[in-house]
Every structure is written in C-alpha cells, then in structure tokens.
Point group: C3
Chain length 140, copies 3
Amino acid sequence: MAVYSETLELERTVEGDVVDITPRVADVVSRSGIKEGMVLVFVPGSTGALTTVEYEPGLVEEDIPRLLERVAPRNAGYGHERRWHDGNGHSHIRASLLGPDITVPVSDGRLVLGTWQQVVFLELDVKPRRRSLAVKVMGE
Amino acid sequence: MAVYSETLELERTVEGDVVDITPRVADVVSRSGIKEGMVLVFVPGSTGALTTVEYEPGLVEEDIPRLLERVAPRNAGYGHERRWHDGNGHSHIRASLLGPDITVPVSDGRLVLGTWQQVVFLELDVKPRRRSLAVKVMGE
Amino acid sequence: MAVYSETLELERTVEGDVVDITPRVADVVSRSGIKEGMVLVFVPGSTGALTTVEYEPGLVEEDIPRLLERVAPRNAGYGHERRWHDGNGHSHIRASLLGPDITVPVSDGRLVLGTWQQVVFLELDVKPRRRSLAVKVMGE
C-alpha cells in the first residue's frame, strides 16, 4: 500500500472554463505505479469545483453555464458581494454546491470511467486564476 | 492495509429510478474482510449519480424527481440535444451536478450510515440502461 | 499505511447552521500521526451535509441559505411531508443534493485547503440536532 502525490498546475483559467483534466490525472496515476485503489483530486480554493461530464461543446459551453446561472444567478445579489465587493458571490455559491473533491477508482493502473465521461475542473471565479489541484493516489 | 474491488451490476434501470444499493455495498464490504477504512462507489458513465437519502416513497418517487426538474428541467433546451439528438441533455447536467462518486466510512466491518440513510444510485438517462458500478474498499 | 478514526461531536445544531469544522478535522489529522494521505468526513444522517466555503458572514448567513431556498424551497410541497408530517422534506432534498461526504487531501500532516477555504457542516433539519460526524484518516 502506498500514497503518491502530485500537484496539477493549470496556468490560467477564466470564468466558465471547463477543463478536461482526465489525461493529466491518468498520467499521475500511471507515474504512481499504483494498480488498484483510488485517486482523489481536490481544488484548494473556494471558487472552483470538480465533477465529471461528457466533454463535448454543447454541455461544456452552453448547458453547464446555464445550469450554474439557474441555480446561482450572477446578479442575484449576494451578501458576500456587499461585504467584499469582489464580484464573485455567485462563484463561491456555485463552488460550494458542486464541491471541491472528486474520487475516481483505479483498476489495472487506469481510471475507471465511462467511455464518454471526463474529469473536469470548473473555473467559477471572475478573474483569471492560476490553479494548483492536489492529486493523491492511494492503493497498491 | 488492503484494497478490495467488486463491480455491482444493475441489470436494468430506467429514468427516475432511485435504487437502494445499501445492502449490496454492505455485502461487498463484508466480503472484503476490511474492518476499518472506507468504501468508494462510483458510476462509470455521465448520466447516473450517487448520493444518500432516506429511502421512502415520498422522497424517492416525488421529491427527488421534482428537485431534478427544478434545477435542470427536461425541456429547458440543451446544447447537447441540438448536437446529438439523444434527448438526454438534462440527464447529463443532473449527473454532473449530483456527482458520480460517494465515499462511506467503514467501522467494525460495517457502513457508517444514519438509521434512515441509504446509499442510492439515480438513473438519470432517458433509455433503459445496464449499469456496472465500481466499488472499492480500502483499509485494514 | 494506517487508518485512524474519530467521531466529531456537534452538541447542538439548528437549521441554517453552517459550522466551521476545519480546526477540529485538522486536530484529528494531527492526532492520527498520518502525514500523507486523505481524510474523509461523513454525516451519518439524511438531513445534514458537508462542503467547503469561505467562512465569512455574507456567504454563511445569507448566500448559502438563499441558494438552498432557491434549489429546494421550504414550502414547495413535499411528498415526504404529506407522509411523515415532520416538516423537513426540504431538509432531506437539500442534503441529498449537497451530499454527506467530503474528502480532503493530507500533506505534511496538514489539510490541503485554500487560504480562504473552510470545511463546513450544514445543519438542514428543522429541529435542533446532536450530530456525530465520522472522520477517517488514511495514509502513512
């Protein structure tokens, strides 16, 4: 049994970006040498999120943004905004709803995902960000 | 420390199904022989999700479907639908929001759950599906 | 590799409470002696949830409650309520949407979190509750 850690750097992300990190997470798992176990990916930060989606333009560019606007509209008026004036109240709320963590099984050294299922990072903040995602592989 | 893996097969699920998989996940944990640790359940696929709920008809048959319709209405018009015409844009969006993974603690060889809390698979796709959920138990 | 377990007791929580449990989870990790791995926190119960948020009053006291009311309004009329008359149909639905589990990476014996990111328990039930959260640290 072992734990293997890497940081996955995203040099520049802007609001609305849905970044397919599947190949990079798979590479971390490969470098770990772990064949059976799980990989945790985590966003250190309160305005980004992780989930899975079929990575195609209809969902990524249109449907996910519309979902986010439906559940936490940009202009709904946020207590966070009135106090801090950084324009990202909706970003925080969307991030808390979607969650900062995802755990994917590892079998035979590979991510256990559906054929049309990708692991994605969602940039929800209003200013360009540099993100360092924590990746932990555990298993044997 | 050990990792134990099984695949949990759901022979046929249709849209709206909320399947109580608690006994089957508990059986996997039992077969693993692991007494202290955690169990990860994961949906390989982008139109199903996992969460917990009190498994009673009011929530399962009425309230969860209404939640899903509220946050991602079937007829909201989806970019995914315009491109792929498979009628399941809402399924994808609901799945990304709820998430494909759940991790439950294991103590004394048993799932640590509330008395009225069940682990459920939600079938969100529009066509009947056969699902193979990945289950990974880790611990000692 | 080791597994370390504790129960985190919240003596009394009421609906709308967003409890910053970060210091207590960090203490559990510290007591575990585990330097590299992950920590799972889980709510045994179907009317509470876990996520992360920047713990400041605007988000905690105003924006999160408004999000919850938007996605699962208190007075939407719940099948759960018609059957059980305990007034907490919305509590269950909110809990299922947000999810009962969160997993945070552990590096150098510390939680890997953003500077303004806290781990929070959300009390969603309508009556005061005593909560026992399960905490599992795994790693080496």
